[in-house]
Symmetry: C2
Subunit: 213 residues, 2 copies
Amino acid sequence: MEQPSRIAGTVRPGGRTARVRAAVLEATQDELVEHGFHGLTMDQVAARAGVGKTTVYRRWGSTPGLVADLMTELANQSSPHADTGGIESDLRVNALAVVEALNDGRLGATFQAVIAAATCDEQASLALRTFYLRRIEEWTSVVDLAVARGELPVGTDGGEVIRAIAAPLYYRLMITREPVTAEAAEWSVARTLAAARAGAFVTGALVTGGAPG
Amino acid sequence: MEQPSRIAGTVRPGGRTARVRAAVLEATQDELVEHGFHGLTMDQVAARAGVGKTTVYRRWGSTPGLVADLMTELANQSSPHADTGGIESDLRVNALAVVEALNDGRLGATFQAVIAAATCDEQASLALRTFYLRRIEEWTSVVDLAVARGELPVGTDGGEVIRAIAAPLYYRLMITREPVTAEAAEWSVARTLAAARAGAFVTGALVTGGAPG
DNA sequence: GACTAAATGGAACAACCTTCCCGTATTGCG
DNA sequence: CGCAATACGGGAAGGTTGTTCCATTTAGTC
């Protein structure tokens, strides 16, 4: 095709190109805060960023492409997991970080936009999946260490525990649209931990009764 | 004023008006299955439904209005909760029903569309919240009965239990975009039940340790 | 510091969304 | 069965957004 076997912006990523990218992503977030994903247009993003429409089309192609790139950018800003020495406080740090992120004007709007975009765009869906699976993986070690310390049963699936912490918070945000409070985070930690201690997160086991078989 | 103090379609809801509404909502679902919320246009909905686009604009106003009405329609189609006599199987019925709905082509696409629409439209957000809070309320009695039977601790918050069952499934659907399987439903039931039995859903209590402090 | 290729920006064009106007068809009622 | 009000349908106009072409500017290199 027309493209020199590479995507525009990757051959000479320094100087102006980098400034343009930063300005466009910044403008994208601003637009998302104000209008949400449905109201995001290439036109206004370009105008707000002070760049030509052509540039936005060439480098991002569409509005889902914009939010996907935004999510990829966030994915690269790795936030190190906690290590407070106890699983309960570690998970609490995690849950409260999620609550804080979702309630942050810019971040919250961005997350919701990418989630919305992922419902109709494969690129956005991939960016979303990549971001969260990476975050989950980063935090899994917190659970693994707790297992090593004897705080949780051997075989506990760390990834599933981290998912279980976050799930109720996102459920409130996106589905029931209830406020995502610190209290909800505490509940999530307490309930997940209770289930984990009962062995409900042990791989392959479906513990439903009071005593393990 | 222009409007006779009522919204079009509410004064004479019989006959053609009802047929038009049914055709439009049907076409909306079809379009959602094919293009998602982002690709939903008033134009194509009208064409597909075989009605004038003026009518669609007059009665629904926008695409979020369309999906909001769709959700309201689904909310009125109440599905009675289970009563198998045991909390575990009751919750399993609930979880599997959610899995089935989310994996259904039409329903799944509709849910995702409304969730996406709710991120930028108050009307859709309200329809979504109304739908789910009603469903949660319908299923809460299942937990209350279990408490009465002595299967779960006194004071267990039924609404929160039902939320906890569904949350991981929606999390997989919308956030990590992993397949929503029957296995995931089983996990959710087992973990929620383990936490509930440990008293983690008792109102006001934050049970985190083995023994209450 | 000059050269080459990459990246950008402005303008033009097409497509789409949304509204307005008015004639027509249908409903609910007497 | 006839009347009056309601709801619908079609087409055209105005505005916004999507998409592409080509000259100009800039980054990276010798």
